[in-house]
Protein backbone atom coordinates (compact mmCIF):
# COMPACT_ATOMS: atom_id res chain seq x y z
CA UNK A 1 0.00 0.00 0.00
CA UNK A 2 1.19 3.49 -0.82
CA UNK A 3 -0.31 6.47 0.97
CA UNK A 4 0.55 10.02 -0.10
CA UNK A 5 -0.32 12.78 2.36
CA UNK A 6 0.06 16.33 1.11
CA UNK A 7 3.27 15.40 -0.68
CA UNK A 8 4.90 18.57 -1.98
CA UNK A 9 8.23 19.39 -3.64
CA UNK A 10 9.54 22.80 -4.57
CA UNK A 11 12.74 23.50 -6.48
CA UNK A 12 13.35 27.18 -5.79
CA UNK A 13 10.28 28.90 -7.18
CA UNK A 14 9.05 25.92 -9.14
CA UNK A 15 6.48 23.76 -7.38
CA UNK A 16 7.13 20.45 -9.08
CA UNK A 17 4.68 18.48 -6.93
CA UNK A 18 1.86 20.27 -5.18
CA UNK A 19 0.04 18.77 -2.19
CA UNK A 20 -0.55 15.31 -3.61
CA UNK A 21 -2.74 13.02 -1.52
CA UNK A 22 -4.02 9.66 -2.69
CA UNK A 23 -3.77 6.00 -1.83
CA UNK A 24 -2.59 3.09 -3.95
CA UNK A 25 -4.19 -0.09 -2.67
CA UNK A 26 -2.30 -3.23 -1.95
CA UNK A 27 -1.95 -5.47 -4.98
CA UNK A 28 -3.18 -3.03 -7.59
CA UNK A 29 -1.56 -1.50 -10.62
CA UNK A 30 -1.87 2.23 -10.33
CA UNK A 31 -1.16 4.67 -13.13
CA UNK A 32 0.25 8.14 -12.57
CA UNK A 33 -0.67 10.01 -15.69
CA UNK A 34 0.65 13.36 -16.78
CA UNK A 35 2.34 15.35 -19.48
CA UNK A 36 6.04 16.08 -19.59
CA UNK A 37 6.94 18.23 -16.61
CA UNK A 38 3.76 17.35 -14.70
CA UNK A 39 5.82 16.11 -11.74
CA UNK A 40 5.70 12.32 -12.21
CA UNK A 41 9.45 11.70 -11.87
CA UNK A 42 9.69 14.02 -8.87
CA UNK A 43 6.82 12.20 -7.15
CA UNK A 44 8.40 8.81 -7.73
CA UNK A 45 11.82 10.06 -6.63
CA UNK A 46 10.30 11.23 -3.37
CA UNK A 47 8.57 7.89 -2.86
CA UNK A 48 11.89 6.12 -3.51
CA UNK A 49 13.47 8.50 -0.93
CA UNK A 50 15.92 9.94 -3.45
CA UNK A 51 14.45 13.39 -2.90
CA UNK A 52 13.21 14.77 0.41
CA UNK A 53 9.69 16.23 0.30
CA UNK A 54 9.46 19.97 0.97
CA UNK A 55 6.35 19.18 2.97
CA UNK A 56 3.94 16.32 3.41
CA UNK A 57 4.94 12.70 3.46
CA UNK A 58 3.98 9.23 2.28
CA UNK A 59 3.89 5.73 3.69
CA UNK A 60 4.99 2.69 1.74
CA UNK A 61 3.92 -0.64 3.21
CA UNK A 62 3.19 1.29 6.36
CA UNK A 63 6.66 2.87 6.60
CA UNK A 64 7.12 6.62 6.54
CA UNK A 65 9.43 7.89 3.78
CA UNK A 66 10.66 10.84 5.82
CA UNK A 67 11.15 9.02 9.12
CA UNK A 68 12.68 5.74 7.91
CA UNK A 69 13.99 6.23 4.37
CA UNK A 70 16.43 3.34 4.68
CA UNK A 71 13.73 0.86 5.54
CA UNK A 72 11.53 2.16 2.73
CA UNK A 73 14.34 1.62 0.25
CA UNK A 74 14.59 -1.99 1.38
CA UNK A 75 10.93 -2.50 0.46
CA UNK A 76 10.76 -0.88 -2.98
CA UNK A 77 12.02 -1.97 -6.33
CA UNK A 78 12.46 0.65 -9.01
CA UNK A 79 12.78 0.87 -12.74
CA UNK A 80 13.41 4.43 -13.82
CA UNK A 81 13.18 5.31 -17.49
CA UNK A 82 13.57 3.05 -20.48
CA UNK A 83 17.31 2.78 -19.75
CA UNK A 84 18.36 -0.37 -17.97
CA UNK A 85 20.81 1.32 -15.62
CA UNK A 86 22.99 -1.81 -15.51
CA UNK A 87 26.73 -1.72 -14.93
CA UNK A 88 28.16 -2.60 -18.34
CA UNK A 89 31.40 -4.02 -17.01
CA UNK A 90 29.69 -6.37 -14.58
CA UNK A 91 27.99 -9.58 -15.65
CA UNK A 92 24.24 -9.93 -15.37
CA UNK A 93 24.79 -12.14 -12.35
CA UNK A 94 27.06 -9.59 -10.68
CA UNK A 95 24.63 -6.76 -11.39
CA UNK A 96 21.77 -8.57 -9.70
CA UNK A 97 24.02 -9.83 -6.92
CA UNK A 98 25.21 -6.29 -6.16
CA UNK A 99 21.67 -5.09 -5.58
CA UNK A 100 20.90 -8.14 -3.49
CA UNK A 101 23.93 -7.44 -1.30
CA UNK A 102 23.08 -3.76 -1.03
CA UNK A 103 19.61 -4.74 0.14
CA UNK A 104 21.09 -6.84 2.93
CA UNK A 105 20.28 -10.27 1.51
CA UNK A 106 22.40 -13.20 2.72
CA UNK A 107 24.77 -14.63 0.08
CA UNK A 108 23.01 -18.00 -0.07
CA UNK A 109 19.63 -16.45 -0.54
CA UNK A 110 20.93 -14.18 -3.32
CA UNK A 111 22.25 -17.18 -5.17
CA UNK A 112 18.97 -19.04 -4.90
CA UNK A 113 16.96 -15.99 -5.88
CA UNK A 114 19.07 -15.25 -8.96
CA UNK A 115 18.58 -18.81 -10.13
CA UNK A 116 14.83 -18.42 -9.68
CA UNK A 117 14.81 -15.15 -11.59
CA UNK A 118 17.02 -16.55 -14.33
CA UNK A 119 14.56 -19.39 -14.84
CA UNK A 120 11.56 -17.08 -14.73
CA UNK A 121 12.95 -14.56 -17.24
CA UNK A 122 14.89 -17.05 -19.37
CA UNK A 123 18.27 -15.53 -18.58
CA UNK A 124 20.31 -18.67 -18.04
CA UNK A 125 22.17 -18.29 -21.33
CA UNK A 126 23.56 -14.86 -20.59
CA UNK A 127 23.81 -14.78 -16.83
CA UNK A 128 27.61 -14.68 -16.96
CA UNK A 129 27.90 -12.26 -19.85
CA UNK A 130 28.83 -8.65 -19.25
CA UNK A 131 25.79 -6.40 -19.36
CA UNK A 132 27.51 -4.14 -21.91
CA UNK A 133 27.59 -6.98 -24.43
CA UNK A 134 23.90 -7.83 -24.29
CA UNK A 135 21.05 -7.06 -26.65
CA UNK A 136 18.42 -4.56 -25.58
CA UNK A 137 15.92 -7.28 -24.74
CA UNK A 138 18.41 -9.14 -22.56
CA UNK A 139 19.30 -5.95 -20.73
CA UNK A 140 15.67 -5.27 -20.07
CA UNK A 141 15.14 -8.70 -18.54
CA UNK A 142 18.22 -8.24 -16.40
CA UNK A 143 17.00 -4.90 -15.13
CA UNK A 144 13.59 -6.40 -14.24
CA UNK A 145 15.33 -9.14 -12.32
CA UNK A 146 17.55 -6.66 -10.54
CA UNK A 147 14.61 -4.50 -9.51
CA UNK A 148 12.90 -7.38 -7.73
CA UNK A 149 15.86 -9.39 -6.48
CA UNK A 150 15.07 -8.43 -2.86
CA UNK A 151 11.41 -9.31 -3.32
CA UNK A 152 10.07 -5.79 -2.66
CA UNK A 153 6.46 -5.16 -1.65
CA UNK A 154 6.18 -2.11 -3.83
CA UNK A 155 7.32 -1.45 -7.40
CA UNK A 156 7.89 2.08 -8.62
CA UNK A 157 8.31 2.50 -12.36
CA UNK A 158 8.94 5.82 -14.05
CA UNK A 159 7.82 5.69 -17.66
CA UNK A 160 9.22 2.17 -17.99
CA UNK A 161 8.26 1.91 -21.63
CA UNK A 162 9.58 5.23 -22.89
CA UNK A 163 11.86 4.77 -25.87
CA UNK A 164 11.07 1.09 -26.20
CA UNK A 165 9.86 -0.68 -29.32
CA UNK A 166 6.55 -2.52 -29.38
CA UNK A 167 8.05 -5.89 -28.46
CA UNK A 168 9.94 -4.50 -25.50
CA UNK A 169 6.87 -2.61 -24.41
CA UNK A 170 4.89 -5.86 -24.33
CA UNK A 171 7.59 -7.41 -22.18
CA UNK A 172 7.18 -4.64 -19.65
CA UNK A 173 3.43 -5.07 -19.60
CA UNK A 174 3.73 -8.82 -19.16
CA UNK A 175 6.18 -8.23 -16.34
CA UNK A 176 3.81 -5.87 -14.56
CA UNK A 177 0.87 -8.25 -14.86
CA UNK A 178 3.05 -11.03 -13.49
CA UNK A 179 4.15 -8.92 -10.57
CA UNK A 180 0.57 -7.99 -9.81
CA UNK A 181 -0.27 -11.67 -9.70
CA UNK A 182 2.60 -12.10 -7.26
CA UNK A 183 0.84 -9.63 -4.99
CA UNK A 184 2.99 -6.54 -5.50
CA UNK A 185 1.66 -3.03 -5.30
CA UNK A 186 2.66 -1.24 -8.46
CA UNK A 187 2.79 2.47 -9.15
CA UNK A 188 3.90 3.47 -12.57
CA UNK A 189 3.96 6.72 -14.43
CA UNK A 190 3.23 7.28 -18.06
CA UNK A 191 2.19 9.78 -20.63
CA UNK A 192 1.07 7.02 -22.98
CA UNK A 193 -2.66 6.70 -22.50
CA UNK A 194 -3.14 3.39 -24.23
CA UNK A 195 -0.97 1.39 -21.86
CA UNK A 196 -2.44 3.00 -18.76
CA UNK A 197 -5.92 2.19 -20.00
CA UNK A 198 -4.98 -1.40 -20.60
CA UNK A 199 -3.01 -2.17 -17.45
CA UNK A 200 -4.23 -0.02 -14.63
CA UNK A 201 -6.87 -0.72 -12.06
CA UNK A 202 -6.94 2.92 -11.11
CA UNK A 203 -5.46 6.14 -12.38
CA UNK A 204 -4.46 9.52 -11.01
CA UNK A 205 -4.10 12.38 -13.44
CA UNK A 206 -1.69 15.13 -12.46
CA UNK A 207 -1.04 18.44 -14.10
CA UNK A 208 1.58 21.01 -13.10
CA UNK A 209 2.23 19.06 -9.92
CA UNK A 210 -1.39 18.96 -8.75
CA UNK A 211 -3.87 16.12 -8.70
CA UNK A 212 -6.57 16.70 -11.29
CA UNK A 213 -8.63 13.56 -10.80
CA UNK A 214 -8.41 10.01 -9.52
CA UNK A 215 -10.56 6.94 -9.94
CA UNK A 216 -11.13 3.53 -11.49
CA UNK A 217 -10.16 3.51 -15.12
CA UNK A 218 -13.71 2.66 -16.22
CA UNK A 219 -15.21 5.12 -13.76
CA UNK A 220 -13.14 8.00 -15.05
CA UNK A 221 -14.05 7.14 -18.59
CA UNK A 222 -17.75 6.97 -17.69
CA UNK A 223 -17.72 10.09 -15.57
CA UNK A 224 -16.40 12.27 -18.31
CA UNK A 225 -18.31 10.51 -21.01
CA UNK A 226 -15.28 10.16 -23.18
CA UNK A 227 -14.42 6.92 -24.84
CA UNK A 228 -10.69 7.18 -24.85
CA UNK A 229 -8.45 8.17 -22.03
CA UNK A 230 -6.52 10.16 -24.56
CA UNK A 231 -9.37 12.60 -24.90
CA UNK A 232 -9.99 12.62 -21.18
CA UNK A 233 -6.43 13.58 -20.62
CA UNK A 234 -6.56 16.40 -23.11
CA UNK A 235 -9.76 17.70 -21.49
CA UNK A 236 -8.50 17.49 -17.92
CA UNK A 237 -4.98 18.58 -18.38
CA UNK A 238 -5.17 20.80 -21.39
CA UNK A 239 -7.66 23.27 -19.94
CA UNK A 240 -5.51 24.56 -17.15
CA UNK A 241 -3.19 26.47 -19.40
Amino acid sequence: MIELKGLTKRFGNVTAVNDLSFTVREGEIFGLLGENGAGKTTTLRMLATMLKPTSGTARLAGIDIVESPEEVRGRVGILFGGESGLYDRLTVYENIQYFGELNDMPVREIKKRIQELADAFGMNDFLDKRAGKLSKGMRQKASFARAIVHNPDVLLLDEPTSGLDVGAMREVQAFLIDQKKAGKTILFSSHTMSEVEKLCDRIAVIHKGSLVDIGETEELLGKYGTQSLEELFVRLAGDGR
Binding site: F11, T49, M50, E70, I78, Y98
Partner: protein
Protein backbone atom coordinates in the same frame (compact mmCIF):
# COMPACT_ATOMS: atom_id res chain seq x y z
CA UNK B 1 26.43 4.59 7.65
CA UNK B 2 27.28 0.89 7.83
CA UNK B 3 30.70 -0.65 7.36
CA UNK B 4 29.12 -3.65 5.63
CA UNK B 5 27.49 -1.43 3.00
CA UNK B 6 30.69 0.57 2.53
CA UNK B 7 32.62 -2.61 1.80
CA UNK B 8 29.99 -3.88 -0.64
CA UNK B 9 30.22 -0.63 -2.60
CA UNK B 10 34.02 -0.54 -2.36
CA UNK B 11 34.47 -4.11 -3.62
CA UNK B 12 32.10 -3.58 -6.51
CA UNK B 13 33.74 -0.30 -7.56
CA UNK B 14 37.22 -1.84 -7.50
CA UNK B 15 36.02 -4.77 -9.59
CA UNK B 16 34.27 -2.43 -11.99
CA UNK B 17 37.29 -0.17 -12.47
CA UNK B 18 39.77 -2.98 -12.80
CA UNK B 19 37.66 -4.16 -15.72
CA UNK B 20 37.76 -0.73 -17.32
CA UNK B 21 40.83 -0.82 -19.50
CA UNK B 22 40.95 2.94 -19.95
CA UNK B 23 41.08 3.78 -16.26
CA UNK B 24 43.35 0.89 -15.42
CA UNK B 25 45.68 1.84 -18.24
CA UNK B 26 45.99 5.49 -17.30
CA UNK B 27 46.37 5.00 -13.58
CA UNK B 28 48.53 1.89 -13.41
CA UNK B 29 49.99 0.62 -16.67
CA UNK B 30 51.16 3.98 -18.00
CA UNK B 31 53.19 4.94 -14.89
CA UNK B 32 54.92 1.56 -14.79
CA UNK B 33 56.21 1.92 -18.33
CA UNK B 34 56.37 5.66 -18.74
CA UNK B 35 58.73 6.18 -15.80
CA UNK B 36 61.52 3.85 -16.94
CA UNK B 37 61.29 5.20 -20.48
CA UNK B 38 61.38 8.80 -19.29
CA UNK B 39 64.19 8.24 -16.84
CA UNK B 40 66.23 6.10 -19.18
CA UNK B 41 65.93 8.58 -22.04
CA UNK B 42 66.67 11.69 -19.97
CA UNK B 43 69.32 9.83 -17.99
CA UNK B 44 71.01 8.66 -21.16
CA UNK B 45 70.83 12.18 -22.57
CA UNK B 46 72.50 13.83 -19.60
CA UNK B 47 75.05 11.04 -19.24
CA UNK B 48 75.96 11.43 -22.89
CA UNK B 49 76.22 15.17 -22.49
CA UNK B 50 78.58 15.03 -19.55
CA UNK B 51 80.61 12.40 -21.35
CA UNK B 52 80.94 14.66 -24.39
CA UNK B 53 82.24 17.46 -22.22
CA UNK B 54 85.03 15.45 -20.64
CA UNK B 55 86.09 12.83 -23.17
CA UNK B 56 87.63 12.93 -26.62
CA UNK B 57 88.19 16.67 -26.61
CA UNK B 58 89.37 17.52 -30.09
CA UNK B 59 91.33 20.73 -30.44
CA UNK B 60 92.37 22.31 -33.74
CA UNK B 61 94.70 25.17 -34.56
CA UNK B 62 93.41 27.98 -36.72
CA UNK B 63 94.89 27.92 -40.20
CA UNK B 64 96.23 31.43 -39.51
CA UNK B 65 98.40 30.40 -36.63
CA UNK B 66 99.28 26.99 -38.03
CA UNK B 67 102.85 25.91 -38.41
CA UNK B 68 104.34 22.43 -38.03
CA UNK B 69 106.12 23.67 -34.92
CA UNK B 70 102.91 25.00 -33.36
CA UNK B 71 101.05 21.79 -34.18
CA UNK B 72 103.83 19.79 -32.59
CA UNK B 73 104.04 21.99 -29.54
CA UNK B 74 100.31 21.51 -28.82
CA UNK B 75 100.53 17.78 -29.37
CA UNK B 76 103.49 17.36 -27.04
CA UNK B 77 102.38 19.77 -24.35
CA UNK B 78 98.60 19.32 -24.19
CA UNK B 79 97.97 15.68 -25.10
CA UNK B 80 100.16 14.64 -22.19
CA UNK B 81 98.45 16.48 -19.35
CA UNK B 82 96.09 13.74 -18.30
CA UNK B 83 92.99 15.17 -20.01
CA UNK B 84 91.48 13.35 -22.95
CA UNK B 85 92.70 15.89 -25.48
CA UNK B 86 93.56 15.21 -29.12
CA UNK B 87 95.06 17.77 -31.46
CA UNK B 88 93.46 17.50 -34.89
CA UNK B 89 94.15 19.10 -38.28
CA UNK B 90 94.06 22.89 -38.51
CA UNK B 91 90.82 24.59 -39.58
CA UNK B 92 89.92 27.82 -41.36
CA UNK B 93 86.80 28.95 -39.59
CA UNK B 94 86.41 28.16 -35.86
CA UNK B 95 82.60 28.34 -35.91
CA UNK B 96 82.30 26.10 -38.95
CA UNK B 97 84.81 23.62 -37.52
CA UNK B 98 83.04 23.36 -34.17
CA UNK B 99 79.59 23.06 -35.70
CA UNK B 100 80.65 20.44 -38.21
CA UNK B 101 82.21 18.50 -35.35
CA UNK B 102 85.72 18.66 -36.80
CA UNK B 103 86.85 19.89 -33.41
CA UNK B 104 85.22 20.76 -30.10
CA UNK B 105 87.60 23.67 -29.56
CA UNK B 106 89.78 25.78 -31.79
CA UNK B 107 92.91 27.60 -30.59
CA UNK B 108 95.28 30.12 -32.00
CA UNK B 109 98.86 30.83 -30.84
CA UNK B 110 100.99 33.91 -31.24
CA UNK B 111 103.02 33.34 -34.43
CA UNK B 112 106.24 34.02 -32.50
CA UNK B 113 105.34 31.82 -29.56
CA UNK B 114 108.58 29.83 -29.83
CA UNK B 115 110.72 32.92 -29.52
CA UNK B 116 108.73 34.18 -26.55
CA UNK B 117 108.97 30.77 -24.90
CA UNK B 118 112.73 30.83 -25.23
CA UNK B 119 112.92 34.44 -24.01
CA UNK B 120 110.86 33.48 -20.97
CA UNK B 121 108.14 35.88 -22.06
CA UNK B 122 104.42 35.02 -21.91
CA UNK B 123 102.63 34.30 -25.15
CA UNK B 124 98.94 34.09 -25.83
CA UNK B 125 96.86 31.00 -26.55
CA UNK B 126 93.35 31.98 -27.57
CA UNK B 127 90.51 29.48 -27.21
CA UNK B 128 87.54 29.65 -29.58
CA UNK B 129 84.46 27.84 -28.32
CA UNK B 130 80.74 27.84 -28.99
CA UNK B 131 78.87 28.24 -25.73
CA UNK B 132 75.58 27.28 -27.38
CA UNK B 133 76.91 23.75 -27.82
CA UNK B 134 77.50 21.91 -24.59
CA UNK B 135 80.15 19.68 -26.18
CA UNK B 136 82.19 22.81 -26.99
CA UNK B 137 81.37 25.15 -24.10
CA UNK B 138 81.72 22.33 -21.60
CA UNK B 139 85.11 21.26 -22.96
CA UNK B 140 86.78 24.60 -22.23
CA UNK B 141 87.27 23.58 -18.62
CA UNK B 142 89.27 20.49 -19.57
CA UNK B 143 91.50 22.47 -21.92
CA UNK B 144 92.04 25.17 -19.30
CA UNK B 145 93.10 22.64 -16.71
CA UNK B 146 95.51 21.06 -19.20
CA UNK B 147 97.02 24.49 -19.81
CA UNK B 148 97.27 25.22 -16.08
CA UNK B 149 99.20 21.98 -15.66
CA UNK B 150 101.38 22.91 -18.63
CA UNK B 151 102.15 26.28 -17.05
CA UNK B 152 103.16 24.50 -13.87
CA UNK B 153 105.45 22.11 -15.70
CA UNK B 154 107.17 24.88 -17.63
CA UNK B 155 107.55 27.01 -14.49
CA UNK B 156 109.10 24.07 -12.63
CA UNK B 157 111.57 23.47 -15.46
CA UNK B 158 112.57 27.13 -15.47
CA UNK B 159 113.07 27.23 -11.71
CA UNK B 160 115.10 24.04 -11.76
CA UNK B 161 117.27 25.58 -14.50
CA UNK B 162 117.91 28.46 -12.09
CA UNK B 163 118.72 26.01 -9.31
CA UNK B 164 115.63 26.89 -7.24
CA UNK B 165 113.37 24.31 -5.61
CA UNK B 166 110.00 24.53 -7.45
CA UNK B 167 108.18 23.94 -4.16
CA UNK B 168 108.61 27.64 -3.31
CA UNK B 169 105.73 28.21 -5.73
CA UNK B 170 103.28 26.29 -3.60
CA UNK B 171 103.36 27.56 -0.05
CA UNK B 172 99.97 26.03 0.63
CA UNK B 173 99.21 22.47 -0.36
CA UNK B 174 95.48 21.87 -0.62
CA UNK B 175 93.95 18.53 0.16
CA UNK B 176 90.23 17.81 -0.11
CA UNK B 177 88.08 14.94 1.10
CA UNK B 178 84.33 14.65 0.44
CA UNK B 179 82.64 13.66 3.70
CA UNK B 180 79.06 13.73 2.37
CA UNK B 181 77.13 10.76 3.68
CA UNK B 182 75.15 10.51 0.48
CA UNK B 183 76.12 10.06 -3.13
CA UNK B 184 76.07 13.17 -5.26
CA UNK B 185 73.11 11.78 -7.17
CA UNK B 186 70.92 12.00 -4.06
CA UNK B 187 70.37 15.66 -4.75
CA UNK B 188 68.75 14.86 -8.06
CA UNK B 189 66.55 12.34 -6.34
CA UNK B 190 65.68 14.91 -3.69
CA UNK B 191 64.43 17.19 -6.43
CA UNK B 192 62.47 14.66 -8.47
CA UNK B 193 61.08 12.07 -6.12
CA UNK B 194 59.13 14.36 -3.74
CA UNK B 195 57.60 16.20 -6.67
CA UNK B 196 56.58 13.04 -8.50
CA UNK B 197 55.11 11.38 -5.42
CA UNK B 198 53.17 14.45 -4.23
CA UNK B 199 51.79 15.06 -7.70
CA UNK B 200 50.74 11.47 -8.30
CA UNK B 201 49.15 11.04 -4.90
CA UNK B 202 47.13 14.17 -5.55
CA UNK B 203 46.02 13.37 -9.10
CA UNK B 204 46.23 9.57 -9.28
CA UNK B 205 42.61 9.12 -8.27
CA UNK B 206 41.24 11.33 -11.04
CA UNK B 207 40.37 8.62 -13.58
CA UNK B 208 38.58 6.62 -10.90
CA UNK B 209 36.83 9.69 -9.47
CA UNK B 210 35.53 10.75 -12.87
CA UNK B 211 34.10 7.32 -13.49
CA UNK B 212 32.59 6.81 -10.06
CA UNK B 213 30.03 9.59 -9.91
CA UNK B 214 29.99 11.69 -13.08
CA UNK B 215 30.36 8.52 -15.15
CA UNK B 216 27.72 6.71 -13.18
CA UNK B 217 25.27 9.61 -13.51
CA UNK B 218 25.85 9.67 -17.24
CA UNK B 219 25.28 5.94 -17.64
CA UNK B 220 22.04 6.22 -15.63
CA UNK B 221 23.18 3.72 -13.02
CA UNK B 222 23.29 6.24 -10.21
CA UNK B 223 19.58 6.56 -9.46
CA UNK B 224 19.00 2.82 -9.06
CA UNK B 225 22.00 2.72 -6.72
CA UNK B 226 20.52 5.51 -4.59
CA UNK B 227 17.29 3.56 -4.17
CA UNK B 228 19.02 0.62 -2.55
CA UNK B 229 19.11 0.24 1.18
CA UNK B 230 22.47 1.82 2.13
CA UNK B 231 22.46 5.42 3.24
CA UNK B 232 24.06 7.96 1.01
CA UNK B 233 27.11 8.27 3.24
CA UNK B 234 27.87 4.56 2.95
CA UNK B 235 27.83 4.85 -0.83
CA UNK B 236 29.98 7.98 -0.63
CA UNK B 237 32.58 6.38 1.63
CA UNK B 238 32.70 3.23 -0.50
CA UNK B 239 33.48 5.34 -3.53
CA UNK B 240 35.89 7.51 -1.56
CA UNK B 241 37.93 4.49 -0.48
CA UNK B 242 38.08 3.32 -4.09
CA UNK B 243 39.49 6.66 -5.21
CA UNK B 244 42.08 6.61 -2.42
CA UNK B 245 43.09 3.10 -3.41
CA UNK B 246 43.64 4.15 -7.01
CA UNK B 247 45.55 7.30 -6.14
CA UNK B 248 48.01 5.15 -4.21
CA UNK B 249 48.02 2.45 -6.85
CA UNK B 250 49.29 5.03 -9.32
CA UNK B 251 52.07 6.08 -6.92
CA UNK B 252 53.07 2.51 -6.30
CA UNK B 253 53.12 1.70 -9.98
CA UNK B 254 55.25 4.78 -10.59
CA UNK B 255 57.69 3.70 -7.91
CA UNK B 256 57.79 0.24 -9.49
CA UNK B 257 58.49 1.96 -12.79
CA UNK B 258 61.33 3.94 -11.27
CA UNK B 259 62.71 0.79 -9.70
CA UNK B 260 62.62 -0.85 -13.12
CA UNK B 261 64.55 2.07 -14.57
CA UNK B 262 67.05 1.77 -11.74
CA UNK B 263 67.52 -1.95 -12.37
CA UNK B 264 67.99 -1.43 -16.10
CA UNK B 265 70.46 1.39 -15.59
CA UNK B 266 71.25 2.58 -12.04
CA UNK B 267 72.41 6.03 -13.08
CA UNK B 268 69.18 6.75 -14.97
CA UNK B 269 67.29 7.32 -11.75
CA UNK B 270 69.30 10.48 -11.13
CA UNK B 271 69.10 11.45 -14.78
CA UNK B 272 72.70 10.36 -15.21
CA UNK B 273 74.05 12.74 -12.59
CA UNK B 274 76.02 10.59 -10.22
CA UNK B 275 75.27 7.74 -7.92
CA UNK B 276 72.77 7.48 -5.14
CA UNK B 277 73.32 5.75 -1.88
CA UNK B 278 74.30 6.27 1.70
CA UNK B 279 70.88 7.51 2.82
CA UNK B 280 70.55 7.95 6.52
CA UNK B 281 66.90 8.37 7.32
CA UNK B 282 65.26 8.84 10.65
CA UNK B 283 62.59 6.21 11.14
CA UNK B 284 60.16 8.50 12.96
CA UNK B 285 60.41 11.08 10.21
CA UNK B 286 59.85 8.44 7.53
CA UNK B 287 56.64 7.32 9.24
CA UNK B 288 55.37 10.88 9.65
CA UNK B 289 56.25 11.60 6.03
CA UNK B 290 54.25 8.59 4.86
CA UNK B 291 51.29 9.68 6.99
CA UNK B 292 51.39 13.15 5.43
CA UNK B 293 51.41 11.52 2.00
CA UNK B 294 48.47 9.29 2.87
CA UNK B 295 46.52 12.28 4.16
CA UNK B 296 47.28 14.24 0.99
CA UNK B 297 45.90 11.36 -1.06
CA UNK B 298 42.77 11.33 1.11
CA UNK B 299 42.29 15.09 0.84
CA UNK B 300 42.49 15.06 -2.93
CA UNK B 301 40.33 11.95 -3.21
CA UNK B 302 37.66 13.86 -1.30
CA UNK B 303 37.99 16.88 -3.55
CA UNK B 304 37.83 14.73 -6.66
CA UNK B 305 34.72 13.02 -5.38
CA UNK B 306 33.12 16.42 -4.69
CA UNK B 307 34.01 17.67 -8.16
CA UNK B 308 32.80 14.50 -9.86
CA UNK B 309 29.49 14.81 -8.00
CA UNK B 310 29.14 18.45 -8.98
CA UNK B 311 29.77 17.74 -12.67
CA UNK B 312 26.77 17.46 -14.96
CA UNK B 313 28.41 14.93 -17.26
CA UNK B 314 31.45 12.74 -17.66
CA UNK B 315 33.05 15.31 -19.98
CA UNK B 316 32.43 18.14 -17.58
CA UNK B 317 33.91 16.03 -14.78
CA UNK B 318 37.02 15.40 -16.85
CA UNK B 319 37.41 19.11 -17.56
CA UNK B 320 37.11 20.20 -13.92
CA UNK B 321 39.38 17.43 -12.73
CA UNK B 322 42.11 18.25 -15.20
CA UNK B 323 41.99 21.81 -13.86
CA UNK B 324 42.61 20.33 -10.43
CA UNK B 325 45.66 18.66 -11.92
CA UNK B 326 47.13 22.07 -12.81
CA UNK B 327 46.42 23.39 -9.35
CA UNK B 328 48.60 20.56 -8.04
CA UNK B 329 51.35 20.87 -10.61
CA UNK B 330 52.09 24.54 -9.94
CA UNK B 331 53.30 24.22 -6.32
CA UNK B 332 54.95 20.88 -7.08
CA UNK B 333 57.07 22.32 -9.89
CA UNK B 334 57.69 25.61 -8.09
CA UNK B 335 59.41 23.83 -5.22
CA UNK B 336 61.38 21.32 -7.26
CA UNK B 337 64.75 23.03 -6.69
CA UNK B 338 64.25 23.64 -2.99
CA UNK B 339 66.74 21.74 -0.82
CA UNK B 340 65.97 20.37 2.66
CA UNK B 341 67.75 23.27 4.38
CA UNK B 342 65.61 25.81 2.55
CA UNK B 343 62.24 24.46 3.66
CA UNK B 344 60.21 27.16 5.41
CA UNK B 345 57.85 26.34 8.24
CA UNK B 346 54.76 27.51 6.32
CA UNK B 347 55.42 24.90 3.64
CA UNK B 348 54.47 22.16 6.09
CA UNK B 349 51.02 23.67 6.36
CA UNK B 350 50.03 23.75 2.69
CA UNK B 351 48.69 20.70 0.85
CA UNK B 352 51.09 19.28 -1.78
CA UNK B 353 53.93 21.45 -0.40
CA UNK B 354 53.72 19.59 2.90
CA UNK B 355 54.32 16.25 1.18
CA UNK B 356 57.09 17.65 -1.02
CA UNK B 357 58.78 19.14 2.06
CA UNK B 358 58.43 16.01 4.16
CA UNK B 359 59.99 13.86 1.44
CA UNK B 360 62.86 16.27 0.85
CA UNK B 361 63.52 16.38 4.57
CA UNK B 362 63.59 12.61 4.86
CA UNK B 363 65.69 12.08 1.74
CA UNK B 364 68.13 14.73 2.97
CA UNK B 365 68.59 12.75 6.17
CA UNK B 366 67.32 15.65 8.28
CA UNK B 367 64.76 15.78 11.06
CA UNK B 368 62.19 18.42 11.93
CA UNK B 369 59.53 16.91 14.13
CA UNK B 370 57.77 20.21 14.71
CA UNK B 371 57.34 20.66 10.97
CA UNK B 372 56.22 17.09 10.35
CA UNK B 373 53.77 17.00 13.23
CA UNK B 374 52.30 20.32 12.15
CA UNK B 375 51.99 18.86 8.65
CA UNK B 376 50.12 15.82 9.96
CA UNK B 377 47.82 17.96 12.11
CA UNK B 378 46.89 20.38 9.33
CA UNK B 379 46.53 17.53 6.84
CA UNK B 380 43.98 15.90 9.13
CA UNK B 381 41.97 19.12 9.00
CA UNK B 382 42.17 19.13 5.19
CA UNK B 383 41.00 15.51 5.02
CA UNK B 384 37.97 16.30 7.15
CA UNK B 385 37.21 19.47 5.18
CA UNK B 386 37.41 17.78 1.79
CA UNK B 387 35.23 14.94 3.00
CA UNK B 388 32.69 17.42 4.33
CA UNK B 389 32.62 19.18 0.95
CA UNK B 390 32.14 15.85 -0.82
CA UNK B 391 29.40 14.87 1.63
CA UNK B 392 27.53 18.13 1.22
CA UNK B 393 27.66 17.70 -2.57
CA UNK B 394 26.47 14.15 -2.21
CA UNK B 395 23.53 15.17 -0.05
CA UNK B 396 22.58 18.07 -2.25
CA UNK B 397 19.66 17.18 -4.51
CA UNK B 398 20.58 20.04 -6.81
CA UNK B 399 23.89 18.43 -7.79
CA UNK B 400 22.81 14.82 -7.55
CA UNK B 401 19.92 15.15 -9.98
CA UNK B 402 21.06 17.73 -12.43
CA UNK B 403 19.77 16.25 -15.63
Amino acid sequence: MKWKHIMIVFKKEVKDIVRDRKTLFSSIIVPIFLMPILFLLVGRGTAKMSEEMTTNITVALTADSYSPAAQNFLKESLETQGEDITIVDPVDDPWEAINSKKAKLVVSLDRDFEDKLKALEPFTLKIYYDNSLSRSGGAVGALRSAITKLNGTIAEQRLEALGINPEILTPVVVETENVARSGDGNMMLMMLLPMIIAMLVAVGGIPAATDLVAGEKERMTFEPLLTTRPGRMSILIGKYLTIILFSFASVISTLIGMLLAFIINPSSITMGLGQIGGFTMDRGSVILCLIVTLLLGMTFSGLQLAISTYARSFKEGQTYLSMLMFVVMIPAYATMMIMPNDIQMYMYLIPVLNTVSAFKLVLGGMTNYTGLILAVATSLVYVVLSLLIAASMFKNEKYLFRS
